[in-house]
Amino acid sequence: MTEVVDTIRQPLLILSEDLRVRSANRAFYEMFRVDRAETEGCLIYELGDHQWDIPRLRELLSEILPQRRTVEEFEVEHPFEGIGEKIMLLSARTLPRAVNRQPLILVAIEDVTEQRRSRWLLEHQKELAEKIVDTVREPLLVLHQDLRVQSANRAFYDTFNVEPAETEGCMVFDLGNGQWDIPELRRLLSEILPSNDFFEDFEVQHDFPTIGHRVMLLNARRVDHLQLVLLAIEDVTERRRVEQEREMLVSELNHRVKNLFAVVRALATLGDDGRSAEEYRDVLLARMGALARTHDLLFESQWRGAELRSLAGMLQPFAGERTEAIDVDGAPVELNARQALSVGLVLHELATNAAKYGALSVLEGRVHLSWQIEDADEGRLVRLRWEERGGPPVTAPQETGFGTQLIRRAFGFELDGTADLAFEPEGLRLEAMFPLS
């Protein structure tokens, strides 16, 4: 009997009816680090430092056991001398014996300390994990291995505007309007994930129910020991839009800067018109100035455009002290960047000519700059007029002059419009027209 009992790994005590230890097995002596001398013959309540002397155990062993014959899993938590804090489960039963023999009680002791500790840890870890999942700002789905939703975090419900009822328990591919039912994603989740453990940055572009068109990036990870799959979803729609916008802006900027260099250079090679070097330089600088000031107007509006009136305002220096010499009349109208640059240069040439040879070269001279907006079938038009009066008698201009060429050609070439430049005896007159959009 002793050999059998000694083979059993669980600590065992055999007590006599009066609850004294008849014998204990090897496992008992090993676990509690005691020897036979301090064990055999002792009352169970006296063992060690009276760790088993617990009222409830007394109750069980003395009262209930005689009638019921078994006590199952009675828990004792105690710092045992020499072996530390332990949680033990006691089971006791009376052993049937022959009639004339003293009844014996078998007490089995199970050390569940590690078990309990692990379970406690797991519970706390689980709680921590759940709290983490819920605090994370990104939508997270926790899927079972069969890809059914176990749970989703708050961010998920908030982002996709759905309820747990329509999410938990569903196949991930059935969620919403089938937004995740994509062949490539199916493949990744069903095939790649099992062997590869995780994938990142899988892009989904889709018209999601309620929230509309969004671009999402998905990360997925297998959590084997829990038999779960974590799916993290990042809404990068805004980020993408901003990136795209920025790229476009940079592109646009490159284009404009390159063009500007080319235009400035062209201005430098053109329009010398048989002038002296100094005169030519002044003319060039003046043109560059007009270009620069027009750009200033465009910067102010972030390249949206410029008011025609503001472009006209750039001509004031040509009138000098006689502010009434240039009369500007027209409704507010915003030209786009292209139109503004074109018209800006043209107005500069007109004013330069007027100051040199035309109405602005004499005290009595006047320039009337006016415009109207007209409604046509194809859209709105600007009708512009520059009229000089009171200047010196007009003579035929240098036909090949750069300024005159520019004035004549700009509206047709760049603005899809028309221009009629007339050197009338009373003064130069330009009538131009171009569509607004």
Binding site: H255, T269, S342, R409
Partner: protein, 121 residues
């Protein structure tokens, strides 16, 4: 180069005028200049140039259709690009000489000279 008929396709008037000046100074005959794809195709329908100078970006439009029409007519062309690292991925724009804005006069002259040589057909 003398008498060479050159089509200019460029959407900035001042730059087009500079090209005109440059080419006329070399003795070329200038066709256009055309600021849009539509205007360029219209000009091509009426006249046949010997060579062409094409600005790749015309008011937001690509010059591809014009390049295709020119290839069909067997007219060689040189491309002028505004962007730094512009990707010329269209088929019609492949294998053509290209220059960056602002275009150097002698660079352009040289490119046109090469294109205009008889063996290029």
């Amino acid at each position: 180069m003398h008498g060479l008929r050159v089509l200019i396709v460029e959407d900035e008037l001042v730059i087009a005028m500079e090209l005109e000046n440059l080419l006329r100074g070399l003795g070329c005959i200038v066709l256009g200049p055309a600021p849009t794809v539509r205007a360029a195709l219209r000009t091509l329908a009426a006249e046949r140039p010997d060579v062409a100078v094409l600005d790749v970006n015309l008011q937001g439009e690509r010059v591809t259709l014009v390049a295709e029409a020119l290839r069909e007519q067997g007219v060689p062309f040189v491309l002028v690009t505004g962007y730094g690292s512009e990707r010329l991925h269209e088929e019609a724009l492949q294998d053509a000489p290209h220059l960056r804005k602002p275009v150097e006069a002698n660079e352009l002259a040289r490119a046109l000279e090469i294109l205009a040589r008889p063996e290029r057909g």
